[in-house]
Structure formats: structure tokens, C-alpha cells
Symmetry: C2
Subunit: 280 residues, 2 copies
């Protein structure tokens, strides 16, 4: 796993497009909702990462979540270099730069609502949002990292493509450009259910990143309820840098929002494994 | 939660006592074994943190591990300030400084084998070892931290007392004195099953720490197989500092070794909760 060259992440900003005044957000947890753009309140997720509303209790929150405990293709996973192949082709992301975007604290994550298009393996997806997990949901060769970002794309046939990148702590204090404009507005959404608007966002660096770095490819699931399977994951094998200061800022808001790693794709769901080991 | 004052962790070193040439180590996972002191190999734990040998599969590794999936008092937990009380008294630790100690990579953790005595609530415990988890096993008010240390004490009647402290990243690069002498030998035990000997270790800072800072107290379990319950945990409500560099060093060896947070003490084991939600 290589470290992202900071110069590759050099500042870029050019065309700014006005965001639409009404946006439809699609959470990773696949709940559609309509939001009025601008600061305000957003619905809080009904799931958590602790206790009976946490990952071991997600199936109990709704019959719709049954796959969280029964599907044999789930995410996140431990990505072993010797096992998970690289994608033979790169996705082609197009994300218009924006003057501002909605930035929401859903309780389960913080999410930036954007519009874009991703073309991958001949299929066109709409890019809906990106959000963060801390620590990482995916492990790489059994090791965890401080934070992970997911760019969530949905095609017209409902199929889902997630572009994921893991952050590693930068000892020189470097931050990926993706994080820099989120630092100030993050302080405005420390409370679950709150939202704000960002300043200008440019996406040239991150689109160039996903368009060029080696990407692991596997079919998994949403990492949150309803744990829909059949989700294609492209996970970068190059880290994005996060400074210790920025990591502490994100962690103080996200606190802990990583699902435990699942069994390898095709293997029995770990909840069924655990249930089968209970005394008769 | 307060941050440990670095001056409180100022260097101390005085009397050095020779470690015994044969030591009996007691892992947190309660397997007794006899080790010859000095560099060499140590048995590797049969459990992991991933897949069917991970926390959801621990009960399947041995009938002796049944409590991992059935006991209603388990560790780690999410420690909420409003819920978990502070201990009314402090433990009294006595750890002789040593010229060197065994430092082992068990696959599941890295562990320093020492001898000491802890007196708490009128009972005398033998201090056997301390070891590390990354990220933290306990959450504090739902937030995780980069690393946790456990000092494991056992009384003659078999009762277990664990003194735990959470580390937070230091933006000034400070490390708790406990970590400093482990940095060099850590590089000698990057492979599971390897061991080495440390240089001189002094414990005045860490004994003073546990003897004075506020300590949450609750009854939980071993956080590793066989998940023995009835373990008294004293968890410091003051962070120890770890530099980003030291964190990366420990993480590169430990990779990921934190059990998911359990249901609150007295509540149903989360594996039984999950099993009860499976389709009939």
C-alpha cells in the first residue's frame, strides 16, 4: 500500500457551479429522503454502533435489515493483498465543483450531498454523497487505519457502486484536499441531526485519485442497515493523508462508526456462525 | 476526561532489580504457561480478531470459551460518564523496577511480563503482565481512542483485577514514559510468536498514575477467550499521551486487536441478541 503523494493533492479550484436548491440525498443505508438545501436539521439514523442498536442488533431494528445477519456477502472485509484482486479498469468520475454543498450529521456519519456521474465497466452511475467512518471499516492485510471515506453511486437499475479510500496519519501534518474545506463546517454539525452548508468544493484531486490509483475490487454490501448485498466496492490501495489534528476533529464528531469486518464474500454470515455455536 | 499532564510523566529511574530467570506469564486470556526468559519464541494465541477465529467465533474455538457468547457480564463496554461510577478508593501498585523484562508478541497482542503487587479493597493481587490493544477496546462516551493498556492482576483465590488506561494522540509528540523504552524492542518482535528482552524499565510514573487519577470501576470479563466473567476493571478517566509516530509503530505490529463493545453489564450477551433475531 502506497502513500498518496501530497503534491498530487495540490490545490485546484476553477469552475464553480451553483448547487441545486433542492437535493435528494441517498444515504449509504439506502433511505431516500428529500432535503431542503441550507442549514437546518436532518433525520437521525435509527441504528448505532453500540449495544442492541449496534451491528449485532441491526436485524432486530427492522425486518428489512435481515441481510445484516444472514447474507453471505457483506462489507466491510479484511482486504488481503494476496486474495482481493485489483480492478482491471478505472472508474471515470465527473464531479462538478460547487459553490457550496449540504453537510449533514446523521448521527451515524457526516455526509456531504453532491451530484456527479461515475462510469464504470460500461455502466453509468449517479454519485449522490460521500461520508466518513472512523476508524476505517475495511482492514488492509489485517491492519486498521484512522478514517475511511465512501463515495456512493447508484445506477438507474438500482445497482450500487462505492468508491472507498482509507486515510493514514500524516506525520508531516498533511491533509488530503478533500478534508480541508470540511474542517470549519464540521464544527457546526457536532450534534447529530444538524446540518450546515460548506464553502466552495472542488473535486479535481479526488476524481484524479480514483481515476488513477490501484483499486481493489470486490462485491460486498452496504456497511449499514439494510446491508443490501450486491454492492460493488472499489477500495483504493493508496492512502490519503490526514493530519493528527484533523483526525481528532473528525473523531470527536463521529466518535466511532465502523462495522466489524465480515466473513470473506461467499462465507457464512458471522452472526449465523456465532448463533450455531450457542449451547443447545 | 482529562489529559495526563506530561510533567507528571517526567522521567524516573532508580533501583533496578534483576528479573527472575524463569517467569510464569499469565495472559489476559488466562492460559498459564512457563517461559524461559530471554529472546526466543512464544506460543501464538489460537484466536484472532477477524472471521471465524474472531470475536464472533471465539466460542466455537473451544467449549471453554462459552462465556464469550452467553455471559451477560462482558468487556469491553462503552463507559458513559453518567452511568459507570468512579472507584471510591485507589489501588496501591508496587512494581519493582527491572533491568530487563520479557517482551512478547503473542499474535493477539504484545505483552511485557513483570512482577508486582496490587492491593485493592483489602485484597492483594499479583501483577503478572501488561499488554496493549489498538484501537481502544473501551469506548468513553461512545468515542474510541488509538490505544489501550491493560495491567493484569490475579489474587490467590483466582479473582482478576485489570487496570486499564486509554491513550490519546498527542499533538505535541509526547509519549507516556511507559511507552518510551518499548519503542526499540518493539521492532524486534514484529512477527507473531517472537519475543525479546527490554532494557531497564521503571514504573514510578504508571504506579503513581493508577494510584491517583479518577478510575471508573465496573465488573466485566476478560476481553479475550475464555471471556471469564467476574473481572474487576478499573479504567482511568485520564488519558495517557501517545505520539502519532509511536501510534503508527504499535499499529503496524498489533494491526487490529480490539473486541467489539459488549452490552452493558447485566444485559443479554449481544451474540444471543443477534441469534434471537435470525429468521425462524
Amino acid at each position: 500500500m502506497r502513500f498518496q503523494n501530497p503534491t498530487f493533492l495540490g490545490a485546484v479550484a476553477s469552475t464553480l457551479l451553483l448547487s441545486t436548491s433542492f437535493v435528494q440525498g441517498v444515504c449509504l443505508h439506502d433511505h431516500r429522503r428529500t432535503l431542503q438545501a441550507g442549514p437546518g436539521s436532518v433525520p437521525i439514523s435509527n441504528f448505532s454502533y453500540i449495544g442492541v442498536t449496534g451491528p449485532l442488533g441491526w436485524a432486530g431494528l427492522s425486518p428489512a435489515n435481515v441481510k445484516c445477519s444472514t447474507a453471505n456477502v457483506q462489507s466491510p472485509i479484511n482486504i488481503e493483498h494476496d486474495v482481493v484482486p485489483f480492478s482491471k479498469t478505472h472508474p471515470k468520475l465527473s464531479i462538478p465543483n460547487v459553490r457550496s454543498a449540504e453537510f449533514e450529521n446523521l448521527g451515524s456519519t457526516v455526509e456531504v450531498v453532491i451530484n456527479g456521474t461515475t462510469i464504470f465497466e460500461g455502466k453509468t452511475y449517479s454519485l449522490k454523497q460521500y461520508h466518513f467512518h472512523t476508524p476505517t471499516e475495511h482492514l488492509i492485510d489485517a491492519q486498521f487505519y484512522p478514517m475511511e471515506v465512501h463515495f456512493v453511486n447508484i445506477a438507474s437499475d438500482g445497482s450500487i457502486l462505492v468508491l472507498a479510500a482509507l486515510f493514514e496519519l500524516s506525520l508531516t501534518g498533511t491533509n488530503a484536499n478533500l478534508l480541508v474545506p470540511l474542517s470549519a463546517p464540521l464544527h457546526a454539525i457536532t450534534e447529530p441531526g444538524s446540518s450546515t452548508t460548506t464553502g466552495p468544493l472542488s473535486f479535481s484531486d479526488i476524481t484524479n485519485f480514483f481515476n488513477t490509483v490501484p483499486l481493489f475490487k470486490y462485491t460486498g454490501s452496504l456497511t449499514t442497515p439494510p446491508c443490501t448485498d450486491g454492492v460493488v466496492f472499489l477500495v483504493a490501495d493508496t492512502f490519503l493523508p490526514i493530519s493528527p489534528k484533523a483526525f481528532l476533529e473528525f473523531k470527536s464528531v463521529l466518535k466511532f462508526n465502523a462495522r466489524y469486518v465480515q466473513n470473506a464474500p461467499g462465507e457464512e454470515n458471522l452472526i449465523e456462525v456465532a448463533a450455531g455455536q450457542l449451547p443447545k
